[in-house]
Amino acid sequence: MGVAVFPGTNCEHDVVAAVGRLGDGASADLVWHTEQTVAGYDAVVIAGGFAHGDYLRPGAIARFSPVMGAIATAAADGMPVIGICNGFQVLTEAGLLPGALQKNAGLSFICTEITLRVESTRSALTRAVALGAELRVPINHFEGNYTVDEPTLQRLKDNDQIVLRYVDNPNGSVDSIAGVCNEAGNVVGLMPHPERASDPLLGSTDGLALLRGLLTPARI
């Protein structure tokens, strides 16, 4: 798979390492933000960090990078595209996912392990896990407070686009939403970092169950 890297991205090597831990020959390459295509990959991950310094708003400038045009085209063709943390912010700014990410309620930068509940298994990220499963995965963000207007929230519920919820809402997100997908289910954004829960040394391997969904269906 491909891991998109912007100036200021800082989780790309963690994602590459976590994908390697999936085994079965799974591997990932870094894709610099000036690339014009992501053809040939089974999936693309937009890794976390501070793309373009988070200037203006997180993701606001990253969405103009050439690779985002390529990712939008690939997403329209059904390629799994996952945005983690800052990558989620990029996907909402690019209009590939609904809603927006606001400063955390309470204005704290939160770096801790939380419990997620899997609310839908039709997304590319959750197709390899059980509905209702609870996963221990770290969060690490200041602007992870998912915000969406009431009609859009209703649409997300009706279309089964709410993928992950916090069991104990840490940041004020509407309806405790931690991750959403597009209508087709192939584009997914989440604030928690599955790549940081990918090895016993990290305290949890629950993130691997999510990343496994990015493998082609035959390999899950």
Binding site: R57, Q102, K103, G172
Partner: protein, 84 residues
């Protein structure tokens, strides 16, 4: 013509404003008991070249919709004045 532009970006009414709420909670400790409804935004100043004021306003509106605001949570107030 050259126009001076002020764009003030604020969170939409109804969108929670954690910064505004925190500032408001801090004010009584400084003796400002009468202040309420604090909302935090940001301001941009720049100039544009356009044929007339309506077309300058239109350019800036487009710029706000596509870049300076996230329309999901923010709105912009635009002030255009003839520049020097």
């Amino acid at each position: 013509m050259n126009f001076d532009v002020l764009v003030e970006v604020h969170l939409r009414p109804g969108v929670s404003d954690p910064q505004g709420a925190t500032i408001e909670r801090a004010l009584p400790a400084l003796g400002f008991d009468e202040v309420a409804g604090v909302r935090v935004g940001k301001a941009f100043r720049f100039s544009v070249v356009a044929d007339d004021e309506p077309s300058a306003h239109q350019q800036v509106t487009d710029l706000c919709d596509r870049f300076l605001t996230n329309p999901v949570i923010e709105t912009a107030a635009i002030t255009v004045t003839a520049g020097a």
